[in-house]
Every structure is written in structure tokens, then in C-alpha cells.
């Protein structure tokens, strides 16, 4: 049956190829968390702990068992879909991730959409008019975007738009305290609020999202704009464009039908990289805007050596990355039919 659906077969093969990668991630994250400095038993036993209570804590956390046994317990739990208990939050890691991953995804995706909306046209314009003011503007924006750290941009935006001008809402996380969070459907507040038709909350969530999304977009648009410009320049100087022009095709057709479509491949690759990079790197934005995302969760877990939470985070990111790569590979085939999706 599979031979009749080569694309499905190829996808399944790709998923199968991901299995050893994910297993490797499980082993490495397990070993790395154990190699971290710091003793969780000492930390969680509290400020006044004596040796006896530290030992009691160690037994309670299951850290008195040999490492190999701990690993098999962990893998056994994973097989049942159990990511373990986070000691610091006292909840299942899966629950924590389900709560926090959408917050990060919502922020990162909005930022990315915003960045694409600005960076791709900017890149195209800069490439078609090299040396003009658009090109220089592109260069300035790109340089500023990469060189300003996100926490700085974030605090600057808060200072201007919230503190001085008073037009931005209080930077208090995903929703101001006067709203209630929408019922959990997808975990994306904008989507959930829209689904239940609660537009007041929707606008509330959008207002809160604006500044952090702009902050992150300023940071992510640099590589996208840069890559779009470079890819467009390469595509525009290609021979098939000269042929198309010589054939008298309209410049619009040449630009968007041929050049842009060919330039899209590296741009999509960059997008994938920027997305996964931004998801992990937006911890600083999360801190500044009190955004309850996965980045700050991971950092807090790391600081207190909360093994299960760190492992859960690494695993979730690995799965996300594998999925993302698969989607991008599929997109290649859509964008450029010359890339056959054959199993290699």
C-alpha cells in the first residue's frame, strides 16, 4: 500500500529516522542534567536542612538509587507518556509544558509573522534596488536588529510606550489582571478567546502581546531580511531571469513568478532556524514582560537542578525541532517541484 503513496512512505521514513535522534536526546539530556553542578536534594531540603532531612529529601526524590536504575525508571515512565514530576512546581512536567509551551509559541509565532511581514518585502525591495535608500534602510535595520540585545529593546520599548507615553498596557504577562484567561482549548489565548467569541479578552491578550512580539520581531527580522536580499540578488542574476526578461515577460512576473519563488528556498530554511532559535532564546523577553513561557521555565528548572523539568524541556524542544524540519522539508517540495520528496 505504501508503495502506492510515495510521499506518505517518505514521511513515515523520515519519522522513523527521527527515532534514534530522539533517543539520543533522551540519553544525553539525562546524563547532562546529572552532570550539572549542584545537588537537588540539598536545594529542595530547604534553608534550614540538616543532614538527616537532606537524606530524607534525596530518598523522596528517588535520587538515592543507582543512576542506571534511575534511567530505566525514567525511560519506563516515558514509554507511558509520563514525563515525570517537577519538584519545583509540584506538577507533572507534561502539565507544565502544556501550559507554557503555547505561551511561548504564541509569542514566537506572532513575532515571526510580524518579522516576515516586514523583512521579506524589505529584503526584496533592497535586492531590486541595490544601493538606493531602501537598501541602506535594510542594512541599518538588520544591523540594529542583530546588535541590540532583546532585553534592552524590551526595556526600551516599555520605557517609551508604557512608562513615558502610557499607550502600551502594563507589561504584566499574557493578560492584565482584570481579565480572566480564556478557557483552555489550544492554549493560545488569541485562538481560544476567538473560538469562544470573547472579544474583550481577545483584545486584552492582543494588547499584551504587542510589545513583546515587536521586541522579538526586531531581533528575528535581521537574518530573514538579510537572507531574502541575498537570495533575491542571486536569483535575479541567474540566467533564467535573463532569459525570462529577454522573452519579454512583465517585470512583475519575472520578479515574483520566477525570481522570488527561487529565492524562497533559503528563506524558508532560515525561517526554520530562526524559529527554533527564537523559541529558546526568548527567555530574556519573557523575563522582561513577565511572560510565563517555556524559556523562563527551563531556566528556573536549570537553576534549581529540577531534573525532570529540564529533561522534559529538552525532549519537547527536540520533538518540536524534528517536526519543524519535517515540515520544512515538505515545504521545499511544495515551493520547488524539482525537489522530489523521494526517500533517500
Amino acid at each position: 500500500m505504501l508503495s502506492k503513496a510515495p510521499r506518505l512512505r517518505a514521511i513515515l521514513l523520515r519519522v522513523a529516522q527521527a527515532v534514534p535522534v530522539v533517543f539520543g536526546v533522551i540519553v544525553i539530556s539525562f546524563l547532562l542534567t546529572r552532570a550539572l553542578p549542584g545537588d537537588p536534594a540539598v536545594y529542595f531540603a530547604g534553608v534550614m536542612a540538616d543532614e538527616k532531612s537532606i537524606e530524607e529529601t534525596r530518598v523522596a526524590l528517588g535520587l538515592d538509587k543507582p543512576m542506571l536504575q534511575q534511567f530505566f525508571i525514567y525511560v519506563g515512565d516515558l514509554a507511558h507518556g509520563d514525563l515525570g514530576q517537577s519538584v519545583s512546581t509540584g506538577r507533572a512536567v507534561a502539565t507544565d509544558l502544556a501550559k507554557r509551551l503555547p505561551a511561548s509559541l504564541e509569542l514566537t509565532l506572532s513575532a515571526l509573522l510580524l518579522a516576515i511581514a516586514i523583512a521579506v518585502p524589505l529584503g526584496v525591495l533592497a535586492a531590486t534596488r541595490p544601493g538606493t535608500w531602501v537598501d541602506h534602510l535594510c542594512r541599518v535595520v538588520v544591523t540594529a536588529g542583530v546588535s541590540l540585545p532583546t532585553f534592552f529593546t524590551g526595556i526600551l520599548l516599555i520605557y517609551i510606550f508604557y512608562y513615558l507615553l502610557g499607550i502600551a498596557p502594563s507589561p504584566l504577562g499574557r493578560l492584565d489582571f482584570i481579565y480572566l484567561e480564556p478557557e483552555h482549548i489550544t492554549g493560545f489565548y488569541l485562538i481560544d478567546a476567538a473560538l469562544v467569541g470573547d472579544w474583550e479578552t481577545w483584545f486584552g491578550a492582543l494588547k499584551q502581546l504587542m510589545l513583546p512580539a515587536i521586541t522579538l520581531a526586531l531581533f528575528t527580522l535581521a537574518p530573514i531580511a538579510r537572507m531574502t536580499r541575498a537570495a533575491m540578488l542571486t536569483a535575479l542574476s541567474a540566467e533564467f531571469i535573463r532569459t525570462a526578461r529577454a522573452a519579454g515577460l512583465s517585470s512583475k512576473r519575472v520578479l515574483y513568478g520566477y525570481a522570488f519563488r527561487n529565492a524562497l528556498l533559503p528563506v524558508v530554511t532560515t525561517l526554520g532556524m530562526v524559529f527554533s532559535f527564537a523559541l529558546g532564546a526568548n527567555v530574556l523577553v519573557e523575563k522582561v514582560f513577565a511572560w510565563p513561557g517555556i524559556g523562563s521555565y527551563a531556566v528556573e528548572a536549570l537553576v534549581v537542578s529540577d531534573y525532570a523539568a529540564v529533561q522534559g524541556f529538552v525532549l519537547a524542544m527536540a520533538l518540536l525541532f524534528v517536526t519543524l524540519n519535517l515540515v520544512i522539508d515538505l515545504l521545499y517540495a511544495v515551493i520547488d517541484p524539482r525537489i522530489g520528496f523521494v526517500s533517500r
Binding site: A49, F177, I178, A290
Partner: protein
């Protein structure tokens, strides 16, 4: 909790943002509340406030005016909370508490001595921090607690101690609705740790209306509270904002009424714009600790040289922004038992050099100075100033930064850091209690591996002795004298807890350094 949350909705929604009314207050804090049950393993310090605001204890402390503005709890005055009255037997070994007859849990059931017994049994049985804190007051085993009848609860001590009653007023021995807890206990979890972690069941002044972990906690007043005067505020929203700059902007603009635990720098800068309370933390000292396990520090002249070389004033300005109290340049003669006290040391490089010259290390030595990255805000500037000053007397200092997760293990458990900064503060405000933790051999906060036979004896003798015993003061003075002469810990300054308020009053400082929302009012 979902249902309780829904009842908040209409009120908050109908509220115009500008006029939040005088019965709701929003507080921002940088710390995260990770559990509603203090007795659980892994509960963060910030979570202790739930124990304070949502649960009652048998007794509480009084209130006094605080240095640095606002109010403070008063260690000298014990007030009733759930107990109506109490009696201490002649020999001090038996404590009998009468509960308030009208005290009710949130579910309407009467608070009984059986609930007190169950809660105390839990605190001494779950292990970890709660059990250690109970032990400080001589409360170790369930058989010490008896519910005589519905309203009479008896504690039998192994020996009389002045620390027992104050220890009943700390956040740990709070009284839980044992019926609700037992309904949700399982065989693996007889103390209902999993249930109470998410769902408090108490009789306290506030209930938890909503809790979104990592984001906010909403307190809602319990109108039937009998533990004290009914709080003025109906609702208090505790919102977690990790970035200090964001917290400062919020409180400065007045969108939130209080920022709890702001950095010293912000406190100093905000002080002339809005209300800032900087309360010196009682029984807490920021110290520079030379470790006796490191050979040069076994030489008393080296320790004295360091004590005279430390630039106290510069540290107090650069690390504390002059919030808190200076602890240098005092009289050498000890005529009171106040602790922390000003030491006889001050910055005098000539004296420091003279001490180095007559020590066994006239040419100096090299030593790493360790600091925690989690506490870098005061430790880093302090360490840099100490490094510079010690360089002038021939001690080459290299600063070693240790990640927060590793810090406690290295400094307190293994006690392996030759020279380091330390910030112990005792909950129970007596000098002997501080000495018990920080100067006795092998005890947790004695990170200098210090041992002095006389100190060992004096601490053992004074720890449970009433403070009005004629022998108490002379012994404490002798303790001070030895500790300040031998210098296993060089006191730098007494830190402050900073709180900024913009539209709130009634703030009260507590030794547990968490926010008691009960006395707060909106203005």
C-alpha cells in the same frame, strides 16, 4: 478553584482600570509561588506567604513601628490567633492552649484541637524544612501533642524553652482542616501533600480565589475570620514579574500599588518619589567568612588584618545603596545584648598592615573569594571592593562565581570555600539562636568550620534559657566578645528588605520576609 475563580470575574471586569476601588490591591513580586503548601518538599520561600495569609497559627506576634518606615512584627509580644488563651505549667514543660470557640474553617466546620494535633503531627512528620523548624522550638514527635477535648490542646516538652512559643508563631505550624485533608489523603500520601499543594484548606484571613502558577495568585477575604481584626481589602492580586525594571515601572506609574522585594538600588532611587519601606532584616547579617579549614585563616592576626582592611563604608554604599544598617565602628566594650551589633572594627589600612606584618604570613598569600551568582546583586560589588582592599595588604584575591544550584552545597554542606560571603538570618530573634546556627561547630550556617569550646557551652546554656534569667545577659555578652575577637564571620552590614508602595499603606515587615497582606489598606 475554577468555581471560586468565576466569582471574581464580574467584579474585576466591571471595575474601571483607573478606579480599582479601595478594596482591591495589586502587588508585584519577582519571586515565584510554586506551592500552596509550605510543608511540601521543594516549596519556594515566596510560597510561605500562603501559609501566613491563608492559614492560622495558634499564636502570632504583635506589631510595632519599624526603623525605615512602616511597621514590623514585634518579637517581644505574643498575640492570640486561633488560641484564645494559653497557660504554661510551673515547670515550663506543659503548654495548654484554649482554642477560640467561634473559629471556623472556610467550609464552616469548627476548628478543633484534633485539627491542631493533626497539623502539628504533619509538620513534625513530613521531614525536611518544616520538621527542622519545629525542632527549633523543641517540637519533635507526635506524642508531644494531645487534643484533650474539642477546644483544649496540650503540648508536652522534653525541656522548657523560651523558643517554643515564638516557634508556634512562625509560618510552619499552621492549622489545617484535617477532615478535608484526610478525605483527600491516600495510602501513599497520608498527609495529603498532593492535595494541599494545589488546594489550601484553612481558617485564615484570606482564601485563594485563583492561582495560576508562574503568573498570579488572587487572595479573597474570608469574612468569617476570627484570628485578628478583619482585613480592609477584599482582594489582593499577587502578580509575578521577574524583571526588576518592569516592576519598578509598574509601581512608579501606579498601575500596581506595591512592589515587594525591590533591589536596594531601586529603593534608593524611588525613595523620594513614592513610599519606600526599607526595613533592616532582624537577626540577619551579611558577612565575610574566612574558613578555618584554610590554613592562613587559622592565624588570628590574619583575620584581624582582614577586618581592618575591609572598606565597610564603600561596601555599604555600593552593595546596599545605604539601605539597612551599618555594623562597623562600634565600641569594643559590650554592654547590651542587642544583635546584630556594631563591631569594634573599622577601615584602617595601617592597622591592617601591622596585623599582617606580625602574622605568620607577612608576605601575604593567595585565596579565592567565592560568591553566589544568585546573590550577585550585593555579593559582586562587595567582592570587588574586598578584592581591592585585601590586595593592599598583600592578600591576592581571585573572585570565584558559583552557580546558585551549587552554592548551598559548596558553602553550607561541604563548607569548602576558603573565603566567601554569607547572609544567614535567623527567624527566631534571639542572639543565641543566631549563634546556634552560625557559630556552633558543624551547624549549617557555620560555613567557616569554626569551633570554640566556650562558644559551644555558652550556646547550649543560653539557647533555651529565658531572656530574663540573670545568667542570660552575661553569657550572651561573653559570646559576642569571643565571636567578635576571633572573627570566624566578619560582619559587613545588616541588609534591608525593600518594599515600594504607591497607593497602599499598612505594610508590615516580618522575619520570614514575605508579604503579610492582612494589615494592608488601599489609599
Amino acid at each position: 478553584m475554577g468555581l471560586a475563580g468565576a466569582s471574581v470575574l464580574p467584579f474585576l471586569r466591571s471595575m474601571p482600570a483607573a478606579a480599582q476601588g479601595s478594596d482591591t490591591l495589586v502587588v508585584v513580586t519577582g519571586q515565584t509561588i510554586n506551592s500552596l503548601d509550605l510543608h511540601r518538599t521543594g516549596t519556594s520561600r515566596a510560597s510561605y506567604q500562603v501559609g501566613v495569609n491563608c492559614y492560622d497559627r495558634l499564636v502570632s506576634f504583635g506589631t510595632k513601628e519599624a526603623i525605615g518606615g512602616g511597621y514590623s512584627y514585634d518579637y517581644q509580644v505574643i498575640e492570640p490567633e486561633l488560641a484564645e488563651s494559653w497557660m504554661v505549667s510551673e515547670d515550663g514543660m506543659t503548654l495548654t492552649f484554649k482554642l477560640k470557640p467561634n473559629a471556623k474553617f472556610w467550609d464552616g466546620r469548627k476548628v478543633t484541637a484534633a485539627d491542631v494535633k493533626w497539623s502539628f503531627d504533619r509538620a513534625v512528620s513530613v521531614g525536611g524544612f518544616p520538621s527542622v523548624q519545629m525542632k527549633a522550638g523543641g517540637l519533635v514527635r507526635p506524642d508531644q501533642f494531645t487534643a484533650v477535648d474539642e477546644e483544649t490542646f496540650v503540648i508536652v516538652l522534653d525541656r522548657p524553652s523560651k523558643l517554643t512559643i515564638p516557634d508556634l508563631a512562625v509560618p510552619v505550624p499552621y492549622i489545617i482542616n484535617s477532615v478535608v485533608a484526610l478525605e483527600n489523603a491516600t495510602e501513599d500520601d497520608p498527609w495529603a501533600l498532593d492535595y494541599l499543594h494545589m488546594t489550601p484548606a484553612g481558617s485564615g484571613a484570606y482564601k485563594v480565589a485563583r492561582w495560576t502558577q508562574g503568573e498570579q495568585l488572587v487572595y479573597e477575604r474570608n469574612d468569617d475570620w476570627v484570628g485578628g481584626p478583619l482585613p480592609a481589602l477584599k482582594r489582593v492580586v499577587i502578580r509575578e514579574v521577574p524583571s526588576p525594571a518592569t516592576r519598578r515601572a509598574l509601581v512608579e506609574r501606579g498601575d500596581v500599588q506595591m512592589a515587594f522585594g525591590i533591589p536596594d538600588k531601586d529603593a534608593a532611587e524611588l525613595a523620594d518619589k513614592i513610599d519606600v519601606f526599607s526595613t533592616p532584616v532582624e537577626n540577619c547579617i551579611h558577612c565575610l567568612c574566612p574558613n578555618f579549614a584554610f590554613e592562613p585563616f587559622q592565624d588570628p592576626d590574619v583575620r584581624k588584618a582582614i577586618a581592618y582592611a575591609v572598606p565597610y563604608e564603600d561596601i555599604f554604599k555600593a552593595a546596599a545603596y545605604e539601605r539597612g544598617l551599618p555594623l562597623w565602628g562600634g565600641e569594643e566594650a559590650i554592654d547590651d545584648i542587642a544583635w546584630p551589633r556594631k563591631t569594634q572594627y573599622y577601615t584602617d589600612l595601617d592597622k591592617a598592615k601591622a596585623y599582617m606584618a606580625k602574622s605568620g604570613y607577612p608576605d601575604g598569600f593567595e585565596v579565592p573569594l567565592s560568591i553566589s551568582l544568585d546573590l550577585a546583586s550585593w555579593m559582586e560589588p562587595t567582592a570587588l571592593l574586598v578584592q581591592e582592599a585585601l590586595g593592599k595588604i598583600g592578600i591576592t584575591v581571585e573572585i570565584e562565581k558559583i552557580p546558585g544550584a551549587n552554592w548551598r552545597t559548596a558553602v553550607l554542606v561541604e563548607k569548602r570555600l576558603p573565603l566567601h560571603l554569607e547572609n544567614f538570618g535567623g527567624w527566631l530573634n534571639t542572639p543565641d539562636y543566631y549563634f546556634f546556627w552560625a557559630y556552633k561547630d558543624g551547624h549549617l550556617f557555620n560555613s567557616s568550620n569554626y569551633r570554640n569550646e566556650e562558644i559551644e557551652e555558652l550556646v547550649d546554656a543560653t539557647l533555651h534559657m529565658p531572656m530574663d534569667d540573670p545568667e542570660y545577659a552575661p553569657k550572651i555578652k561573653r559570646m559576642f566578645e569571643i565571636a567578635l575577637d576571633e572573627l570566624p564571620r566578619i560582619p559587613l552590614y545588616q541588609p534591608a528588605l525593600n518594599v515600594a508602595a504607591n497607593g497602599a499603606e499598612g505594610y508590615e515587615f516580618w522575619f520570614h520576609r514575605q508579604l503579610d497582606v492582612r494589615p494592608l489598606k488601599a489609599v
